[in-house]
């Protein structure tokens, strides 16, 4: 019984992590209709920035996390202004080609500067180990992930639904022309959203170093997971990707625990079945774009 709960807990933490990593992609792909396969590169950037700050410069872990967010967001906004902007109107195939190219470049560049070995971030003692909660083993680090990611999700939902920026974004996405006619600066809104998504990925990258491992091949290795989250979740809101991430996380952990040999099947089969059942994802818009 307790092992079920521990697995559930691990699965939730894993899922939450995937959500933070992938929700930026959900925004660019779902809302802005841009296939950005280089999303993982921003996560990697955040992870390496955090690693450098903590390990080399001796920053406390919690101070480095926001900087992982900021640095990934800054890189994001720079690339958005210089490169991505020109590709919003291009075909999906062009976007795929471009973003895969960017991913290759980031992989080789990080390999060149940081080496190809896996790196780890030195964690404060308070985050290490596990404690017992009525017999259920709770990992401290994973608990922190759940708390941070949970807060982020709530904040995101509030921003999108309640703030002025949220309504501008939704307007800009639904009908860019009408939105700009109403005086909304659409490119600015897009740039900001893109940067925010990249920042979240950067934060996710920093958080995931401990669990998923951080090396130059991160963007390629996890690209598939991000895509699964976004397609299974659908792109109409962030609730979809959120639930998809949880499902993926719990499914993966439970699959590995109970049927270790069948591990990867569980996820892929789940994905195919869901997509056959609901081609636009669990919470997709019914009308095709």
């Amino acid at each position: 019984m307790t092992s079920i709960l521990t697995n559930l807990f691990d699965g939730v933490a894993y899922g939450m992590l995937l959500f933070v990593l992938a929700c930026g992609l959900a925004v660019t792909l779902g809302l802005m209709n841009f296939v950005n396969l280089a999303h993982g590169a921003f996560a990697m950037a955040g992870g390496y920035v955090c690693m450098l700050l903590v390990n080399k410069s001796g920053w406390p872990f919690f101070a480095a996390l926001p900087l992982a967010f900021v640095s990934a967001a800054v890189i994001g906004v720079l690339l958005e202004r210089t490169l991505y902007r020109h590709l919003y109107t291009r075909s999906h195939l062009d976007q795929v080609l471009f973003s895969i190219g960017l991913t290759f470049m980031s992989v080789a560049a990080v390999d060149y500067f940081m080496g190809s070995s896996r790196v780890f971030i030195n964690l404060p003692d308070a985050l290490q180990g596990q404690f017992d909660f009525f017999g259920v083993g709770i990992g401290r680090y994973r608990l922190m992930i759940i708390v941070i990611c949970g807060l982020l999700t709530v904040a995101l939902q509030l921003i999108l639904a309640k703030t002025r920026f949220g309504s501008r974004l939704r307007a800009a996405v639904d009908d860019p022309r009408a939105a700009s006619g109403l005086g909304i600066n659409v490119p600015q809104v897009f740039a900001f959203t893109f940067a925010f998504g990249c920042g979240l990925a950067g934060l996710g990258g920093a958080l995931s170093a401990e669990i998923l491992g951080l090396d130059p091949y991160f963007p390629l290795k996890f690209m598939i997971y991000f895509l699964i989250v976004v397609t299974v979740g659908g792109s109409s809101s962030i609730t979809g990707p959120f639930l998809a991430s949880l499902l993926l996380g719990i499914g993966d952990v439970a699959g590995k625990y109970y049927v270790p040999k069948m591990g990867p099947f569980v996820i892929y089969t789940m994905m195919i079945v869901i997509l056959i059942w609901r081609p636009n994802g669990l919470f997709g818009r019914t009308a095709a774009r």
Binding site: R118, F120, Q128, G129, G139, G213, D215, K221, K261
Partner: protein, 393 residues
């Protein structure tokens, strides 16, 4: 659009590109060429880089001429994908006319090149891959790394004799992993031990947590682990996170899990891990101290066992050439390599004349803190261990 003209012009362009690419690099006639095929990109890239570094270091130290011939190393990346290895090996043999092929990060890669070495009659020096069968696939294969049987047997004996009764195993699901598991199991159960849980994890594996939870629930005395070099760090982190160290479950295994190049970043949870392996950067010999210092100075990191295998591999090539007086006939080189003995940074080693596999000391080591850094400190030595995967037959 006009398909015709388009085709014609494309064809002209293609021909121009092709003729450019067809210009093969021409080398001096008096050179000895070594084709080094390593995973330089992808998940195994750190293996490739360690070996390449070690070879560079050796050539800096010993010069690049042997028996009057200049040594030329051509590096090819195979990304640890066997068909790329094969293509690379073929290209090297046919176009670059190499005299040796060397490297090979993973077992399938070494096996893929084996028939080519046989056909071309040139030595294949395996510097990393660790499955027993490799050297049986071609009479031209020589290995300077290790076999998993060597260390897995010994840690199995050691565990059974040192009060470990129940062991859970976690091994990567591929040939070396299965070797590591089977040879350990054989000796450990023969010594009266019991395997309480056996999990094979996929080779590409992001998260060990669920597997570790399973291990924990099985409540063993120790955890026997084999994961490829590079994944050890992740494993140890999650081992600590899950509190297995607090639950008194020790990690034992072949030394891949505590590979020197990552060891220092793994955190204190790794303290007390007992492994059997061929090399530790803390090996107490003057030669090793120099080697570690030179390597650190040149590349800014600690050499792992892959680096030593590369270092010994190039040494073997140098020595064989000296013995044949620069003759590059494959059969003569292989003959020269057989039975060769030398002192390596890891200790005394030799090439078994029967199997062309490496014979070396296996050390039992425990992770300890030395001057604030984590090291595998050797405390017992099994001398001149042959590959039991073959001697058995």
């Amino acid at each position: 659009m006009s398909v015709r003209h388009k085709m014609l012009s494309w064809a002209a362009t293609a021909a121009a590109v092709a003729s450019l690419a067809a210009v093969a690099p021409a080398g001096a006639q008096d050179a000895v060429k070594i084709g080094l095929i390593l995973p330089m990109t992808g998940g195994q890239a750190s293996t490739g880089k360690q070996i390449e570094n070690a070879i560079k270091l050796y050539m800096q130290q010993k010069g690049d001429t042997v028996a009057g011939k200049k040594i030329e190393v051509i590096v090819k990346d195979d990304g640890a994908v066997p068909d790329k290895t094969k293509t690379a090996a073929q290209e090297l043999i046919v176009n670059d006319k190499v005299n040796f092929i060397a490297g090979f990060g993973v077992t399938p890669a070494a096996l893929a090149a084996a028939p080519l070495a046989t056909q071309a009659k040139i030595p294949e020096v395996v510097m990393a891959a660790g499955t027993s069968i490799i050297t049986e696939r071609s009479p031209y294969i020589v290995r300077t790394s290790f076999t998993l049987a060597q260390s897995a047997n010994i840690i199995g004996d050691w565990a059974a004799k040192n009060g470990i009764k129940k062991v859970a195993t976690l091994t990567s699901d591929y040939a070396p992993g299965n070797d590591a598991l089977n040879f350990f199991k054989e000796r450990f159960t023969a010594g009266g031990g019991e395997i309480v849980e056996e999990v094979k994890v996929p080779l590409q594996n992001p998260d060990f947590a669920p597997f570790l939870q399973r291990m924990k629930d099985a409540k063993p005395d120790a955890l026997y682990v084999f994961v490829p070099a590079g994944q050890g760090g992740n494993f140890m982190k999650q081992y600590a996170e899950r509190g297995l160290d607090k639950a008194g479950i020790k990690v034992i295994g072949p030394g891949d899990v505590t590979d020197d190049d990552l060891l220092n970043n793994m955190g204190d949870a790794v303290l007390g891990t007992v492994t059997a392996h061929l090399y530790s950067a803390a090996h107490p010999s003057a030669m090793n101290k120099d080697f570690v210092a030179a390597y650190k100075k040149a590349f800014g990191s600690r050499p792992g066992f892959m680096a030593v295998s590369g270092y010994d591999g190039i040494h073997l090539i140098y020595e064989a050439l000296k013995k044949t007086n620069g003759d590059t006939n494959g059969d003569k080189l292989i003959e020269a390599m057989k039975g060769m003995k030398w002192e390596s940074p890891r200790g005394p080693i030799s090439i078994d004349p029967e199997t062309r596999d490496i014979v070396q000391n296996i050390y039992i080591r425990k992770v300890e803190k030395v001057d604030g850094e984590l090291y595998n400190v050797e405390f017992a030595t099994f001398e001149a261990v042959k590959d039991s995967g073959k001697t058995k037959k």
